[in-house]
Subunit: 355 residues, 2 copies
């Protein structure tokens, strides 16, 4: 195997990225419906330059299937629990497929009552949460989503892994623009980012993690073996606990520590639950809807007007570029992906020297 410079990259048109992604997933034996649903979310993340949830994530997804963790032929079961609660048992398949099965009913309930919850159980989660709520906001709804992960993060005041990276995502509908969307880990950084720093031979920033002895570290390998820290001290830690509780015990699913134990150190994607809460502003507001959506626009304009950015601005800009120019990934990642394709994989991409 030839030595590869870290500066080499490969650029793929979006349709080629989709093709590779889908073929890698199908090559694991995943059902076509499940593979399509996973691939769509992964390519959308790469398109938006969310690298840790983009094509890189295919390695983890394929691995999770190949070691036998994922139910390749999962058949999610939708339960209409109450006029405002939909539960989906993901049947130990990937989360995005269960989401697809349950979201319409949850949206229907939100539109009728003004408020509804979608609880997904027994799913393997691999995606960024924005992918699940941005489409809701594109259809006039507000929503937030929560999910635990594996116990990798210490609570504030502690040094031992307990919480997951426990992301919180929120989306709000805008009248003439992409939705206002944020999605962040309650850990000080995403685990995927630490992994990518490790792959790139780079140190992580201080304040993100401690080693196994509870001492601060900037070494990615030590951080992954020790404990990550929450963002924002005790406040981030409190939010992380809230994610554990609402997307765990409230919906009858595992805490991050249980999910980690369930994995038996095999390193699969976390198996657990997810909670999405949906608000329909038109039910809350009636004929005051338009006025109040303008009010929200005033907030966004005031953020932008003082030179600050909206949370997903960079992502929407990347999306625009990717549609025209395709997506660019490290050649090392590209080569890893090729290994996951069937033997006859044809010719993809365009190797470029970025520096």
């Amino acid at each position: 195997m030839k030595s590869i410079s870290m500066t080499e990259t490969v650029t793929l048109p979006l349709d080629e990225a989709s093709d590779i992604s889908l073929r890698i997933l199908l090559n694991t034996g995943l059902s076509a419906a499940q593979a399509e649903s996973v691939s769509e979310v992964i390519v959308a993340a790469q398109r938006d330059e969310c690298h840790s949830h983009g094509l890189y994530r295919l390695i983890g997804c394929a691995y999770s299937v190949n070691i036998g963790s994922i139910n390749k032929t999962a058949s999610p079961k939708v339960v209409d629990l109450s006029p405002v609660i939909v539960k989906v048992d993901a049947d130990f398949g990937f989360s995005s497929y269960a989401y697809e099965k349950g979201i319409s009913l949850a949206v229907e309930k939100a539109r009728r009552q003004g408020l509804a919850a979608l609880a997904i159980n027994n799913c393997y989660h691999f995606s960024a949460l924005w992918a699940e709520i941005e489409p809701l906001a594109e259809n006039g709804l507000a929503a937030f989503a929560l999910t635990p992960s594996h116990s990798w993060v210490a609570p504030a005041g502690g040094t031992k892994p307990l919480f997951g990276t426990n992301p919180i995502a929120f989306a709000w509908p805008r009248t003439d623009d992409h939705p206002f969307v944020f999605d962040f880990a309650t850990s000080a950084t995403a685990r995927g980012e630490i992994e990518l720093h490790g792959r790139a031979g780079k140190k992580i920033a201080p304040g993100l993690a401690v080693d196994q002895q509870g001492q601060p570290t900037v070494d990615p390998a030590e951080a992954l073996q020790g404990a990550m820290l929450t963002f924002g001290g005790h406040k981030g830690s409190a939010l992380s606990a809230m994610v554990e509780l609402l997307a765990g015990p409230l919906i009858g699913d595992m805490l991050s520590m249980e999910s980690k134990a369930f994995d038996q150190e095999r390193g699969a994607a976390p198996c657990h639950g997810e909670l999405i809460v949906i608000f329909d502003p038109s039910v809350f507001l009636g004929d005051k809807l338009g006025f109040n959506l303008s009010r929200a626009e005033m907030l966004f304009e005031s953020i932008l007007g003082q030179g600050a950015r909206l949370p997903s601005q960079r992502r929407y800009a990347a999306r625009l570029t990717s549609v025209t120019n395709g997506v660019t990934i490290p050649k090392r990642l590209f080569d890893d992906l090729l290994q996951l394709l069937p033997n006859e994989h044809g010719s993809f991409g365009r190797v470029t020297q970025t520096i």
Copy 2:
């Protein structure tokens, strides 16, 4: 007026604190029902040693009434908007009274459907949010509460006041203990804390605020005139925006910037909305309730087991002490409170020298 040492304090039994509090509020002309509701929340905060929401807050509440901002005889109107949404128009009275009027119906809906929202509009908010959701968790429910305030906080990447201090509170029911409750400002500190530092002649910590020129400051007066910062950088800022949107436009109420303008620089408590979302775990879980509440206990035990604390631990400990020993406040605050009583105010408290 004699010179008062900053070290002098006054200790009041809880019933005396309640008596003073209620008499101060009644002395403003507030209706008895409204005064009782406000007083209860303020004394509970002082009992739990939440000093910035305790007896100190009476000064601001009395001021807000005395300048004519508060509707002294407010009569909140409860609207049954949907099977899961209760709206209460607070009639420009204090929030706690409107909460009292609407909470039973919201709880009834949550118990029936599993999920419900209480939206309070046109209320003057003065209290910590935990006071509103802790009682829900004591009755087996989970809940979160959000409210904007006045535009005092700059978004991440900006330097101009836009967001309120925008607190987020969350409560979870525990089987054999006080509920798990957190309540924090999405600003890096509470505005009341900066005010209290100013009163005590102390500097604030770095990283909490910028001055009017957008430069970092540790001077309380400069901070109050400039802009406070959010906690946790862009993540805290994103959460603050979420609070604006869900407890503002979603429920048809003011953003913090509108609420500030509405006040016309009179310095009253913020007039705006509040959103409380309530979950009934027994609807989500059915006969799996007990198992999943134990699961949550496992999380709490793991936090405590590594020497970290639960968010309200200090507050519950203070409560226990206050019930026996009463509450202790600076003599300077005590004297300010006496000024708000009717002329014949009798004799309260016990002056003590703490250092």
